[in-house]
Amino acid sequence: MFDWITFTWDMEFALEILPQLLRAAWITLQATVVGFAIAVVVGLVLALARRGPRIVSWPVTFLIEFIRSTPLLVQLYVLYFILPLYGVSLSAFVTGVIGLGLHYGAYLSEVYRAGIEHVDKGQWEAAIALNFDRRRTWTNIVLPQALPPMLPMFGNYFIVMFKETPLLSAITVVELLQTAKIIGSRTFNYVEPYTLVGLIFLALSYPAALVVNRLEARFARQRQ
Amino acid sequence: MPANASDPASPENGRSDPGPVVRFEQVTKRFGDLTVLDRLDFEVAQNEKIAIIGPSGSGKTTILRVLMTLVEPNEGVVYVDGEPLWHKPANGELVRADEAHLRKVRKNIGMVFQHFNLFPHMSVLRNVTEAPIHVLGRSRSEAEDQALHLLDKVGLGDKTDQFPSQLSGGQKQRVAIARALAMQPKVMLFDEVTSALDPELVGEVLNILRDLARDTEMAMLIVTHEMQFARDVADRVVFFDSGRVAEEGPPSKIFSAPENPRTQSFLKAVLDH
């Protein structure tokens, strides 16, 4: 197993490909942000639908469980290969961010649910006592209290999703990993590109995780 | 109040004068700026039953925890059976004890906790046999015989196969007492062992302790808010205030004719409510 090829890290090569990888990292970030924006909306819609009458809540619950129980990669293939059969042709990037958004929307719906359940029952009763209508009860009373404690979980999922974006390479989106793959197959040098990709992910996600931890600790303190 | 030299107590000790089983010498414990034990001198004679009373925050729990090696004092020396607990002699000096020394001296001490601290993943029987088997090296059958005897004594002979989650608070505390007794310590510490119990369960635990105080040779240090109970079982009552012994004496004196105004107002407050 060990046939040692004397191997050295080629710094010159690494520096040469770095700008290209950083440009690709920008695509990756865009995919994360757009995908997350979709997930935030989808998650809220799913969470609210789950509170509706059974004829709505049961299928929605099933949909959430189904999305959470199947691999994102397969879901991306489904969107990528099946949508065109029904005349919907989207770019790979758009397909990818929709896939990410739907997948993590299912996860975020659980975060919304927990956050909403966390709001004290007395708050609903107070809203009724003050004769708020349904919409105002949600926008002025429930959500403003439910959302802030959810922020750390949102942050966690944002980072998780960021680390899942390399999957988009499987449907030909030229993001960070795909760019490294292209460089590797052109130069037959995989160590530098893949290692750099790993380092870029680490450099972005580790500080983000620290920020989320701080946020988490802050909310934990406030709750006491 | 060391035991009288002619007292034939504690035959297993072998020494003619057994001396105090526990001695605090100028012990100070601080948590940050707060001095919880303040140059405390305090002794426990062999076989002595002591009730420790005092206002909240006066350091009662802390003395027990220092003695159980759960809290390390900042200054002073604690002797258990003549041996320093938190220190060991090296080149004629006392240096900080290592784990091996702590374990050697600690085997003389046992403790029953306010919140029982039973092991939830073990049956009642195993809660009682685990330490005798693995710490004292007893055989399983020997440990189980002893455990059954002790569980009988605390009235739980029929609960051996239950798990702690299936017991009431009073039953849990009685298991915890049996568990501590199984280690046969020379000194047993009780920290408000009834204060986490529903009122109707307090009696069953106090009765066990009464019997124990009457029948056993070991010294008992009992922190309690149950004044009648303290009066019944204690040879000596120690009133604690701000990390020092403010007043001590036989129960008849402390409860009937306290001298220290702090003792008087404390007793007035607890007995009046």
């Binding site: 995989y190 290692t195 | 784990e99 374990r103 092991f119 993943h121 330490a131």
Partner: protein
């Protein structure tokens, strides 16, 4: 719906299960070692374990997979695709598991350790007889969730040509063009394995929280 597609997909499913089990075993071992390592009294061990956890949690599992498969050979270490897959998945999930191990150990109540001291157990005995058995119970639900995530993550190794279920599905769709049926089957098969696991984990979760409340 094309039953004729099933044998191929089920052959892939067999490999998916093998991959899941092999990676789970690796992840479990690594999680225990690294989780305990993070609590070691010895600082170099803590740093080593912490670095492992942060590196594998901080980079993407797919990047790790590609790194093990494509970059490791250039260091003279040649892994076949299956080994690279198990290594990447196992080490990745192991890093998350290590945090579970650490968190569970730290959440055993202080009173349990104090009772262990009062009964004069040695530090090692306290860990083995009192802390770990209780921590292990708390680890079960998160480990169950990790297993489900792992099962889904095995789909990724199709990208390094391991013929597991997703790979077989993808190849079938390339050769037969029966896109709808194939992907529907794939989703159903994953769901059929993962969802019972989810229900199982929830059942365990309820029992564990009942145990912890006691």
């Amino acid at each position: 719906m094309g039953i004729d597609l099933l044998p191929t997909l089920l052959r892939g499913a067999g490999i998916t299960i093998q991959l899941t089990l092999a990676s789970a075993a690796l992840a479990l071992v690594v999680a225990l070692i690294a989780g305990l390592g993070r609590l070691s009294p010895w600082k170099p061990i803590r740093i080593l374990a912490g670095t492992y956890v942060e590196v594998f949690r901080g980079t993407s599992v797919l990047v790790q997979l590609f790194w093990f498969y494509f970059a490791l050979p250039l260091f003279g270490i040649r892994l076949d695709a299956f080994a690279a897959g198990v290594l990447a998945l196992g080490l990745n999930v192991g890093a998350y598991g290590a945090e579970t191990v650490r968190g569970s150990i730290l959440s055993v109540p202080r009173g349990q350790i104090e009772a262990g001291i009062a009964l004069n157990f040695s530090a090692a005995q306290r860990m083995r007889r009192i802390v770990l058995p209780q921590a292990f119970v708390m680890m079960l639900p998160p480990f169950g969730n990790n297993l489900i995530e792992l099962l889904k993550a095995t789909a990724l190794v199709s990208l390094i040509t391991i013929p597991e279920m997703t790979f077989e599905g993808y190849s079938l769709q390339m050769t037969t063009g029966r896109t709808n049926e194939i992907f529907l089957w794939l989703l159903l098969l994953y769901f059929a394995v993962a969802y019972p696991l989810t229900l199982g984990v929830r059942a365990i979760e309820r029992r564990v929280s009942a145990f912890l409340r006691a």
